[in-house]
Symmetry: C2
Subunit: 437 residues, 2 copies
């Protein structure tokens, strides 16, 4: 497809930069190997598979233990190994399904993940959920040629530029492995776009051959991509419905656009376009100080908090159209869009069903000002809304029960319009990239 | 119960007035009998059963034909009989399930209804739906003592004063026969109030003994009262859900009030109370000239028109809490209440599901101003509402498709507040009597 070769040249690491990265990674592996004698140390992720982009600074290393090592011992061994291998380096203990060590070295973020050595095959025993990653690396290395790796790079960059890349809980988007499987399935980036543009309400994919009857139906997500190394697993389980449909619309826009390269640029949404959208639509940003915890936990808790927040706002009568979240200037920022910035004057307060006579009398005693009526067999009261705008709701947002690390939510600020762009440009770009067409 | 005897004295016809009414009715029957030799002429309704109120001016007369008379001939025979019996009197041809003649004589409205003579018993053949009325009259005359007839009078007057009396389509309330059955079931007016105040979401009643298993379940209305002369029939089929719950609430208010007699006065809702309610709540009146047709047809068509109207308003976003309808100053008046008098600024226009790609492109071509987004797999557009108030919606109301006799709806006026009270006092009283507590 015209223009894509040029895009590829800008995102594919040069031979020199690839050599430099390899050398760095090899040193990391070597230092770790010296510390953990009984276990294998293996590169994983996009570096191992050769699908990384120029400028990627995230390295995944697996420390693979024999099955006779106790699960509880893994964290301590890996932590000790990192401390000894990289004395003085800053590191964190992070948690996905199990603890791992995140260490920062020469501008790179290296995740050192303990796991059990896995043997290939349909019925291998997974002692730890991340053990599967080794099999993913082996599978991609076995099945994927060099040219297809470049197609993966295009797809990854395309998704990144449009805020749809990444399986982490903050994004709920498309993982690197999912990109690789989509390219294996469809052949090239262009063919993937064409196929994705035709996706319906739900899409079921098996990378090789057909799925067994019933294999797809047990999953409930809009996109189901069976894992070729474990057919019980849906690789796209975390992809949100909003992101699924956003990708379909994006693929269509890409196919019909003359400026293909524009879809790979860092700011898919220009500042002018953003300003116009913020002026027309009721986007708000909730901002509060970010606690110093690893991202996985942070965004897990922010999602939980947003769930509480959005339920409370819906209950109040606000109609929320969508949300995005990210850091802005070191703070947590949740962008959300409301259909209306002001709710109507009155609301209905539903009381008990008429059959509960004593409860009805208690309810009626609160609403003595000509407000009572019966709606569908329930006593109800008409009342003026005390809260009609998100600004008036901010006090309630600050008082919402927050997850353990988000006590700073009680200092939440609310931005709209120009102030929102000033303070939360990036997350608004992300929101409107995904949620406006 | 204290005060009820006094109420009864004011609503029960005196011996003198009853004698006068009887004489009038006997003359009517005699004149009709001379015209229809082969058929029986029988008094029906509350005059026949002795449960009429002082001032009642509605007389029901049945002309009972043998089963060998053709159905198609009935209307002509009865019409001819009325013309000959009451030369020069104004009459109309009216329709319930079948045509009948409504004639106006000396300030009374007399319905002369052709029907087939019915024989008592579970399996008699009903050639006409109204034939059942003869059996109702016989049943009440057989089962009900004089004192209970006075209790029926109290219940009827209570319902009339609170706008819940009458099975006609305009009211969807409680018929005279239903009042009689409720008194037979519960014994007295006071006991009926106590029982009604305990009614739940649905109430199933068989006047004598228990209903056969399953006899009640086939009906879907909140109140089911089996007809003792035809156990397949629900006497309260027309009672609306709103009226059912209004009666329960009213019975409770009656039982706990010190001013029992007040519930029987003509204006259960004072002018001051009405003014206060209209000031607080968003009541509107749609008014248009009444066509000169009989009430049964008129209100059937007005209900149909209101159904179209309320659907259109709901689709626009208005939340309707209830309605009443009646004549006001010779015009048709529909009163309805809105939760809010102004809708919010924006609305969502739902487009096609994303899977219909060509339709989506057409839809998107209409909304090019940063308005598009995807909601639950459908393309959608955000747009400013053009109609935010009922006043702005009046043009659309006038343009709604109206039933055959309601072409005058295109001249509909809309009143609110003081103007509504001035033009539509009676129907607003009716509305708030039923719909406010």
């Amino acid at each position: 497809m015209e223009g894509l070769e040029q895009v590829l040249r800008s995102i594919k690491p040069t031979a020199a930069s690839e050599k430099q990265e390899r050398r760095f990674v090899d040193q990391v592996l070597e230092k770790l190997r010296r510390q953990v004698k009984g276990a294998k140390v293996a590169l994983a992720g996009s570096f191992a598979k050769g699908t990384f982009l120029e400028g990627d600074k995230d390295v995944d290393v697996f420390v693979l233990f024999k099955h006779n090592v106790e699960k509880e011992a893994l964290e301590g061994i890996v932590k000790g190994a990192v401390e000894n291998a990289f004395p003085g380096a800053f590191y964190q203990i992070a948690y996905a399904q199990h603890p791992y060590v995140r260490v920062f070295l020469q501008g790179r973020k290296i995740d050192v993940v303990p796991a059990y050595e896995a043997s290939h095959g349909r019925h291998f025993e997974l002692k730890s959920a991340v053990d599967r990653s080794q099999l993913h690396t082996e599978y991609i290395l076995e099945k994927m040629g060099q040219r297809q790796k470049d197609e993966v790079r295009l797809l990854k960059k395309f998704l990144k530029s449009n805020h749809l890349y990444g399986a982490e809980i903050r994004v709920q988007g498309f993982s690197g492995y999912l990109c690789e499987l989509l390219i294996l399935k469809y052949g090239t980036f262009s063919k993937a776009m064409k196929n994705i543009s035709e996706w319906k309400e739900r899409t079921f994919l098996a990378v090789e051959g057909e799925a067994k009857p019933g294999a797809m139906e047990k999953f409930e997500t809009p996109l189901v991509v069976l894992d070729p190394v474990d057919a019980d697993r849906n690789v796209s389980a975390v992809v949100s419905s909003a992101n699924y449909f956003a990708l379909i619309a994006l693929a269509r826009a890409f196919l019909s656009s003359a400026d293909k390269a524009g879809f790979f640029s860092k700011k898919a949404l220009s500042a002018a376009a953003l300003k116009k959208l913020v002026g027309k639509r009721n986007a708000y940003c909730i901002v509060f100080p970010a606690p110093k915890i690893v991202d996985d936990i942070l965004w897990g808790q922010v999602r939980k908090f947003y769930s509480t927040l959005s339920c409370a706002m819906k209950k109040e009568g606000f109609e929320i159209l969508g949300c995005s979240m990210d850091r802005c200037n070191g703070s947590v920022c949740i962008a959300f869009e409301l259909l209306n910035s002001e709710l109507p004057e009155n609301k209905v307060i539903y009381g008990p069903p008429l059959r509960y006579r004593a409860d009805c009398e208690k309810f009626a005693a609160h609403y003595t000002n000509g407000q009572l009526l019966i709606l569908e067999g329930r006593l109800a009261a008409l009342a003026k809304r005390k809260v009609r705008t998100p600004e008036q709701f901010l006090g309630k947002i600050r008082a919402l029960p927050a997850p353990s690390h988000l006590s700073s939510a009680k200092y939440a600020k609310l931005y709209k319009g120009a102030a929102a762009i000033k303070n939360c440009m990036q997350v608004l770009q992300q929101y409107f990239s995904v949620q406006s067409r």
